[in-house]
């Protein structure tokens, strides 16, 4: 009886001592449920129309051939078999994974480093300036960011190569070689997304009680020990959150390769999302694009499950 009573606090069960009162309370709970359903309905409808229905649609389309303009024809498992004969797909998954892991590492490691540095003692206006500087790229449109970087990274007339020239580094063909094109995507995407990671890290760092740190100082722990023994364990849920979110985001990069390199040269900087887009809207092969999309979903589900499973070993909750 105690458990339902506790759950019923919001519904007023504990307030109604008499049988009649209990009945009224139940009615009230019932009414609240309907009101809640009413309030949830817009989101529910939105979810059904824009998430669930398209998701089911993608699964269904993966069994069809459809070019948008002619009626779809049933293809059975042909699109799934085609996955194994698509030599571009493996290359694209390879380049996506390479870029995603690098973007993830930069966000997790450098994001943490910068967040910790921003938390050290400094005048407020300097702190505000740096926070704003790091966060600014995050709120700007990805396409706009990529467009600006396309000019900055121009091999012959770009500012980046111009500045590198002062330290004796020759003109790097950032966007035109298989070695540098993915590096350019990694740098530009990380520059854009790092602000979000820093913001979340700062929120996490500010949530750590000062008393714990002060106690460690009193105990004679140096800065390094305090970070690894106090700060990082208490920050581990934040790190885990960023790991999951950044993994999903890093595998869905689209605007930067689209604007900077069009996925090239070859497939060296092509991401899987760009490949899905090209298959659907350049090749007009909606069925196969849906099938490739499902492989990305599968990959992300597996990666997220692994992260959740492994997180038990290193995530510390107070």
């Amino acid at each position: 009886m105690s458990a339902p009573s506790v759950r019923g606090i919001g519904g007023g069960v504990l307030l109604g001592a008499t049988p009649g009162g209990e009945k009224r309370s139940l009615h009230r709970r019932h009414g609240d449920g309907l009101a809640a359903a009413g309030f949830l309905a817009p989101s529910g409808v939105g979810f059904l129309l824009f998430v669930l229905a398209p998701a089911i649609g993608v699964i269904l389309l993966s069994f069809y051939n459809w070019n948008l303009l002619s009626p779809p024809t049933f293809a059975g498992g042909a699109n799934y078999i085609a996955l194994f004969n698509d030599h571009h797909l493996l290359a694209v998954f390879g380049s996506t994974t390479y870029m995603a892991l690098a973007i993830l590492a930069i966000n997790i490691a450098i994001g943490l480093l910068l967040a910790v540095l921003l938390e050290v003692r400094m005048p407020r206006w300097i702190r505000a300036f740096f926070r704003l500087s790091f966060l600014f790229p995050f709120v700007v449109s990805s396409s706009a960011v990529a467009l600006i970087w396309r000019f900055l990274l121009d091999k012959d007339f770009g500012l980046v190569n111009y500045w590198l020239g002062f330290v004796g580094i020759g003109h790097i063909n950032w966007l035109g070689t298989t070695q540098w094109a993915p590096v350019a995507i990694i740098l530009v995407n990380s520059w854009k997304t790092l602000g979000f990671s820093i913001l979340v890290y700062i929120a996490g760092l500010q949530g750590i009680p000062n008393e714990v740190r002060e106690a460690a100082i009193v105990d004679g722990a140096n800065a390094w020990t305090r970070f690894w023994r106090i700060t990082f364990p208490l920050l581990s849920p934040t790190v885990f959150f960023l790991l999951v979110i950044n993994t999903i985001n890093a595998f869905q990069v689209f605007a930067e390769p689209r604007v900077l390199t069009q996925g090239g040269p070859g497939d060296s900087s092509r991401t899987i999302v760009e490949y899905i887009y090209d298959t659907a809207f350049q090749g007009f092969n909606i069925g196969y694009a849906s099938t490739v999309g499902l492989t990305l979903v599968l990959l992300l589900v597996i990666l997220t499950l692994i992260q959740f499973r492994l997180s038990r070993r290193w995530t510390f909750y107070e």
Partner: protein, 434 residues
């Protein structure tokens, strides 16, 4: 009772939102009930020029045909390929315009999907149309044809020519090219023009028409077979063209891909002495006050072929009012409309008029460059590249060529390796079986 009311209210809200959502989703699919006097025209909204040109066309047609209404549907897209993808999405959503603006690159795309209504019957029976047709170079009509079916009367077009900076030529002591260049002469001049801060020649890496195609065409080659059913990227002619261009990069005469982000600006700033493009570039250069340029033919290889691309407003088979749609197409290609679009020396039209007579009027108007007569002259005096290399999956086709081209010119593949890979990549794309 109160609870029932609440429940009903909640259900009504949910149902209302659902219906509103579904209605919004299906709004674009509503059919035209005023079919007899109304036509819907979809066009590529590539910028403010497209909006003003099409609005002018809309107003002009409505004025010339009292009681008619033209509804314009602007479709976004960074290039022709993206525009066609968005057009396909529009059609898939249930909206069927009566006419849609396309370029020659989109002819097969419409034809293979059985979307376009050929205008052959109209041309046979309409004397006014015959007059328009006779003033258009046959090569342009051909670029808008599939077999014997004519897709549309072209209202404008572009051909690929070399733009050269006259100041840089003077500075290097090179006489202005007269259009009789060979590839060797071109290379020698481009080499002389190449200095520390200037490339002799550059081409765009984002499109094949102003990029690699003219060189392939002038070796008598093409990327597709004569029936546009098979790729021919590994042919000797394509190999020869790519080897020549690769040589320009290796000698430092041309930049390695990707070429500059903004060829026009770099050309104006003297960072590039020559580049290939259509007439659309003068619509940027002349308003900016840059006039130190002229045009000439691409150098002759084993042959010379003009690379052309036209635009027009084909009628879709789904049109509720094909006769009125035909009237609009004819109006868009008419001398009155094309003459009104000529523009001025500081704000010129960004294409070449499809009518020979209007092109002559453009030359007479004195709009730069000095050699403006070459624009129309190149198709009147020389053979146009056929077949038009644009299979139904044009966007994917061009993208595959550009990807493999970048690997070759970036030094990742040899010319032969790269073209062999290009051939493999194009095989599933260039096909006549849907």
């Amino acid at each position: 009772m109160k609870h029932s009311t609440k429940r009903i209210a909640a259900l009504l809200v949910a149902a209302g939102l659902t219906v509103a959502g579904l209605t919004a989703c299906s709004a674009s699919g509503t059919t035209n009930t005023k079919a007899s006097k109304t036509i819907d025209v979809a066009y590529w909204n590539y910028g403010s020029g497209a909006v003003s040109d099409n609005t002018k066309l809309q107003k002009g047609f409505e004025k010339a045909n009292p009681g008619t209404t033209v509804n314009l549907t602007p479709i976004a897209g960074a290039g022709w390929g993206e525009y066609y993808a968005n057009l396909a999405t529009l059609i898939a959503s249930g909206k069927h315009p009566d006419l849609t603006f396309i370029s020659s690159e989109g002819v097969k795309f419409l034809d293979q999907n059985n979307l376009v209504l050929p205008i052959n019957n109209y041309l046979k029976t309409d004397p006014a149309a015959k007059k328009i047709e006779s003033d258009i170079a046959p090569g342009l009509i051909k670029s808008f044809s599939v077999g014997k079916d004519i897709t549309s009367l072209p209202n404008a077009w572009n051909n690929m020519v070399i733009y050269y900076n006259t100041d840089l030529f003077k500075k290097a002591g090179i006489p202005a090219p007269d259009g009789t260049w060979t590839w060797d002469q071109f290379e020698a001049d481009a080499k002389k023009l190449t200095t520390g801060g200037t490339y002799g020649y550059a081409w765009t890496g984002t499109e094949i028409f102003p990029g690699v195609l003219p060189w392939v065409a002038n070796q008598g080659g093409n990327f597709v077979s004569s029936d546009v059913c098979k790729p021919t990227a590994d042919s000797p002619a394509v190999n020869k063209a790519y080897t020549f261009l690769d040589g320009l990069i290796k000698q430092g005469i041309s930049p390695a891909p990707p070429a500059s982000n903004d060829l026009i600006t770099d050309f104006e700033n003297g960072k590039i002495a020559m580049f290939g493009a259509g007439r659309w570039v003068i619509a940027s250069m002349l308003p900016a006050g840059f006039k130190s340029f002229d045009i000439t033919r691409f150098p002759t290889g084993s042959t010379y072929q003009t690379v052309v691309g036209a635009s027009g407003y084909p009628i879709l088979k789904s049109s509720k009012n094909p006769d009125l749609a035909w009237k609009f197409q004819k109006y868009a290609a008419s001398a009155a409309v094309q003459t009104s679009e000529i523009g001025t020396a500081t704000a010129p039209f960004d294409g070449i008029p499809s009518l020979r007579s209007v092109a002559a009027a453009t030359v007479a108007a004195g709009i730069p460059p000095a050699n403006t007569k070459l624009y129309y002259g190149s198709i009147d005096n020389y053979k146009a590249l056929t077949p038009f290399p644009a299979p139904a999956k044009y966007t994917q086709f061009e993208s595959a060529i550009l990807q493999d081209t970048q690997l070759i010119f970036g030094g990742n593949d040899t010319v032969s390796q790269g073209l062999s890979q290009m051939q493999k990549d194009l095989e599933p794309i260039v096909s006549c079986t849907s």
